[in-house]
């Protein structure tokens, strides 16, 4: 962490940026640029009338998903398949919702509205109808948002609305690509 501390002391106004996965932090340390230039320091100082030192933290602890690791023996498992096709099998507690779980594990799921069922950015596709049928039906508000989701399927749900239960143990969900499919009009 020494490189970071150095940066933190040199750049006033630095705050935590918790969205980065641990792997990204490792990368970042490895490629950390040379110490800030004089111009950068001047710039930073000028833009921060009241320089404050704050602790820099980049651990998952301060990340979105407020989920605790499950107690041994009480784990339920959910597997996320990201858009590259990579599988992430995660041990969770009953009651955790899929958005919190995904964010706590730095999977690519935005949750733009903070899990309040007001957008469709945490769209997931349940791969097995059997699990989909075990969930309580989506309510009107969730369905209204699903109507706006890209690549909607018969087993689509919003991650923020799906709470893990014993019945869902072993479920696999796919994360659809968040980038819009390019359309003919884009080529104009």
């Amino acid at each position: 962490m020494s490189a970071f501390r150095l940066c933190a002391q040199r750049l006033p106004g630095l705050r935590s940026f918790p969205k980065q996965p641990a792997s990204a932090i490792t990368q970042k340390l490895a490629v950390s640029p040379s110490p800030p230039s004089r111009a950068q320091l001047l710039n930073a100082a000028r833009l921060s009338p009241r320089p404050q030192l704050r602790a820099f933290s980049a651990s998952a602890r301060v990340s979105h998903g407020h989920v605790d690791p499950p107690k041994p023996g009480e784990e339920l498992y959910v597997t996320f398949v990201d858009k590259e096709g990579e599988e992430h099998k995660i041990a969770v507690n009953a009651g955790d919702n899929l958005l919190d779980v995904a964010q706590a594990h730095d999977l690519e799921m935005e949750g733009a509205c903070g899990g309040s069922c007001a957008c469709s950015t945490c769209h997931v596709i349940v791969t097995d109808q059997k699990y989909y049928d075990q969930m309580p039906e989506p309510d009107d508000d969730e369905n209204d948002m699903l109507d706006l989701a890209f690549g909607l399927t018969e087993t689509s749900r919003l991650g923020c609305q799906v709470k893990m239960t014993k019945e869902l143990d072993g479920m696999v969900v796919k994360l659809p690509s968040m980038t819009r499919n390019l359309q003919a009009s884009d080529f104009k």
Binding site: C7, A8, L11, G13, L14, R15, S16, F17, P18, K19, Q20, A24, Q27, K28, A30, V31, S32, P33, S34, A39, Q40, L42, N43, A44, R46, L47, S48, P49, R50, E110, A112, C113, G114, S116, C117, A118, C119, S120, T121, D140, D141, N143, D144, M145, D147, L148, A149, F150, L152, M178, T179, R180, L182, D186, F187, K188
Partner: protein, 484 residues
């Protein structure tokens, strides 16, 4: 891994200028900094306050949609991110207290420049009487009740009569209808500024026609917005003609089917004839032909005239319309009308001299599928390789936060893919310091993220005193006063 590969070949982190701090700008920054954390992003914003249409466009009764600001605030906390508020790029500042820098200077001092400044104008109908008092653009009205400084002085004439017309059937049109018909006591708890609340409290409007030239299956508003109006307490919806829908709704695609069900079910409150009852309707297959005044008040709108249309393919979402033959017209009494047929982006003033291709018809910067913009210098000068666009200035004014986000991610991905090439082609770039060295800028007027936090805190404090989440400052001078 991309960052590592890039590091091996080049030691100059790309400096990126993003022009505009709305959701498109922030999601582009988010994507770029997540995938390429060594890049440096300076975000220019013409106003002293960030977030664009999340602050000035999202309806005040949709606070949950504004939660994306939490993500934007985290992006702003990245050590390589700098907010440059109150700085216009390529346009003179549109208010007296801001500063302006030229687009040419910004292009000289960055490896990449991203246009994310959105759509700040609106489409006109081009019909007679559009300039009468009482005819407003929905964009201005939305800006007014959301505290946009440029629209603070709008003073819409809500007290002249009971009937209002909204031309257009997108989500903005339904937002306008909902704000006109909501209980002011409910709005008072949200972040509607006091000057707007006071005027809404005196509104006489009780009957809103939301008028579209096509039918319900072609309307642009989403299910959520229609449902919200149906749920508003005490508000009646005028029942629709069933002939507008196919006999068997199951033949429709999912979203159309669900919307049709809601529209046909209508509101729990029946349309009453008792005075004071509020109601709204969706009036389909009507194109406005003229806004009319009355002889006793020739400057003011008193009614709106429409011609009736017919659909060429009633149940197809892409159906076109043609006027009935023989023609029919209908006149709706209206003391106030809102034109809500779409926002439109304008080119920056510097575009022509700098050579940025702009499609006036569609109101977008011309771009390739990923959002790259081809620089075409007029004088045969050197072509700048790092131009991008994102958000409504790229896609046109359409879509919800999710679509803007997906689209901004695509632009962010293009920047990351190009990063190595951009850095190799350019020398070390001066960024904001370089711009400052070239331009005559009143530095003390530039608003940093820390400054925004102070404005934010002051707004929340004023809100607490009024029993609401925040009381927005609606004058740029007032915002800057907090920082003195």
């Amino acid at each position: 891994m991309l960052a590592l590969a890039w590091q091996r070949t080049n030691n100059t982190p790309p400096r990126i200028a993003i022009i505009g701090s709305g959701p498109a700008g922030f999601y582009t920054a988010h994507r770029t900094l997540t995938r390429l954390p060594t890049s440096h992003i300076d975000m220019y914003e013409a106003l002293p306050v960030p977030f664009g249409l999340v602050r000035f466009g999202v309806a005040p009764d949709h606070p949950e949609v504004k939660n994306c600001q939490d993500t934007f605030t985290k992006v702003a906390s990245h050590p390589n991110f700098t907010f440059l508020g109150n700085v216009s790029v390529g346009n003179p500042s549109d208010h007296d207290h801001g500063v302006g820098v030229s687009l040419g200077s910004v292009m000289r001092n960055y490896h990449a420049v991203v246009f994310a400044y959105g759509a700040s104008r609106d489409r006109k109908l081009g019909v007679r009487g559009e300039g009468l008092k009482g005819v407003y653009s929905a964009r201005e009205f939305v800006g007014w009740y959301n505290g946009l400084p440029a629209c603070a002085g709008l003073e819409p004439e809500l007290g002249r009569g009971e009937e209002a017309v909204v031309v257009g059937q997108g989500n903005v049109a339904l937002d306008v209808a909902r704000i006109l018909l909501s209980d002011v006591d409910v709005l008072a708890k949200l972040d509607v500024p006091e000057h707007a609340l006071a005027r809404l409290a005196e509104s006489k409007v009780r009957r809103v026609h939301v008028v579209g030239r096509r039918g319900p299956l072609q309307a642009a508003f989403s299910t959520k917005e229609a449902r919200e109006l149906m749920r508003l307490e005490g508000l009646a919806f005028h029942p629709l003609d069933k002939g507008l829908f196919p006999e068997d709704l199951k033949t429709l695609p999912r979203a159309s089917r669900r919307l049709s069900e809601i529209l046909l079910k209508g509101s729990p409150t029946p349309v009453s004839t008792t005075p004071g009852g509020k109601s709204w309707s969706l009036d389909f297959l009507l194109s406005p032909s003229a806004f009319l005044s009355s002889p006793d008040s020739p400057d003011h709108l008193s009614s709106t005239t429409f011609t009736r249309n017919t659909l060429t393919s009633p149940f197809s979402p892409t159906s076109s319309v043609e006027p009935l033959n023989p023609p029919e017209t209908i006149t709706i009494p209206s003391s106030i009308a809102f034109r809500s047929i779409g926002y439109k982006a304008a080119p920056l003033q510097d575009f022509q001299t700098v050579g940025i291709p702009f499609d006036e018809g569609r109101g977008v910067v011309k771009h390739d599928p990923a959002g790259r913009v081809q620089h075409t210098p007029q004088d045969g000068g050197k072509v700048f390789q790092g131009l991008y666009c994102t958000g409504w200035v790229k896609t046109g004014p359409t879509g919800v936060i999710a679509s803007t986000m997906g689209d901004a991610f695509a632009t962010g991905d293009a920047i990351v893919e190009d990063a190595e090439r951009l850095s190799n082609e350019g020398r070390i770039k001066g960024g904001w310091e370089g711009v400052l060295a070239e331009e005559n800028v009143a530095r003390e007027r530039v608003v940093s993220w820390e400054d925004w936090n102070r404005i934010d805190g002051a707004e929340k404090e004023r809100g607490r005193e009024l029993g609401k989440e925040r009381e927005k400052m609606v004058q740029t001078e007032e915002m800057l006063e907090v920082l003195r």
